[in-house]
Point group: C2
Chain length 159, copies 2
């Protein structure tokens, strides 16, 4: 898969590149809430995050209007944390940011699909590439991935 | 991509095959609510539906415990419709069912990723393969797909 300007994706990042402005940012001009239906679910829309290169679904988060606006304006995927009740730019502390490559919305405008370039070894605070690391097998959730990094080293044991 | 038993996927369906029992069904033995966190969002978890063969995200729905149980037991993806306030087996009237190939859950057990074989030409009631047929481009949602079927012929003009 290619980036939107046709170049091949290079997933080998160096530390210095973590904070660079995403190139996709210039393609966006933000216009209000883009007619998204935030009212349907108490101010939040569902945001599915998918790796733009591999197609793997990495995580599901939720965005209020401000989180969506920040995602578009900054090019870094930003959620509204339901448990912490505040904005949460993914990777702000860990460096594992999600660089926006493409945003789509669904037919009833209450969900967005964010294709990203995931900086760092994984998006899951438990140390996996994807939060969906458990699969249903014979009536049980089985861990089917191996950890891609040590979460204690990144999050200091906190989630 | 292959099905879980290693065979290549065959996406050319005939009408007669629409109602066949999914082969994956036998792999599941249901055990209660599988520790999913339905309480976090008023009885519902988020269900992301992804085409098992292409990796395309097709739609996002919501499941209560019963919808999840029915999905596992029948092998056909079943949601809880928030707008109609009732269970909704996708494709029950249109025939465009979503045959479960694999179910994963995320780290905090409040979302599932359902990889499916989508029967029929598309999952979206507006006539598209995927509900995510609009992409953000220069501050506007632009339709980037062409319709794969005529929704009026399937849904009779109703959504």
């Amino acid at each position: 898969m290619h980036t939107r300007d046709g170049r091949c994706s290079n997933r080998n990042y160096t530390e210095n590149e973590k904070g660079r402005p995403p190139q996709v940012r210039r393609a966006f001009l933000f216009a209000g809430h883009m007619n998204l239906d935030f009212a349907k679910a108490g101010g939040l829309i569902t945001a599915v995050v998918q790796d733009h290169a591999t197609g793997r679904v990495l995580m599901v988060g939720y965005m209020n209007e401000e989180a969506f606006r920040k995602t578009v304006e900054t090019g870094f995927t930003t959620f509204f944390s339901r448990s912490r009740n505040k904005l949460w730019m993914k990777g702000e502390s860990s460096g594992h940011r999600l660089v926006v490559k493409e945003i789509s919305t669904d037919c009833d405008l209450d969900a967005v699909l964010v294709k990203v370039e995931a900086l760092g070894p994984g998006v899951c605070h438990e140390g996996y590439e994807s939060c969906f690391f458990r699969r249903l097998e014979n009536g049980e959730w089985k861990v089917v991935d191996t950890r891609s990094y040590d979460p204690a080293g990144v999050y200091g044991g906190k989630s």
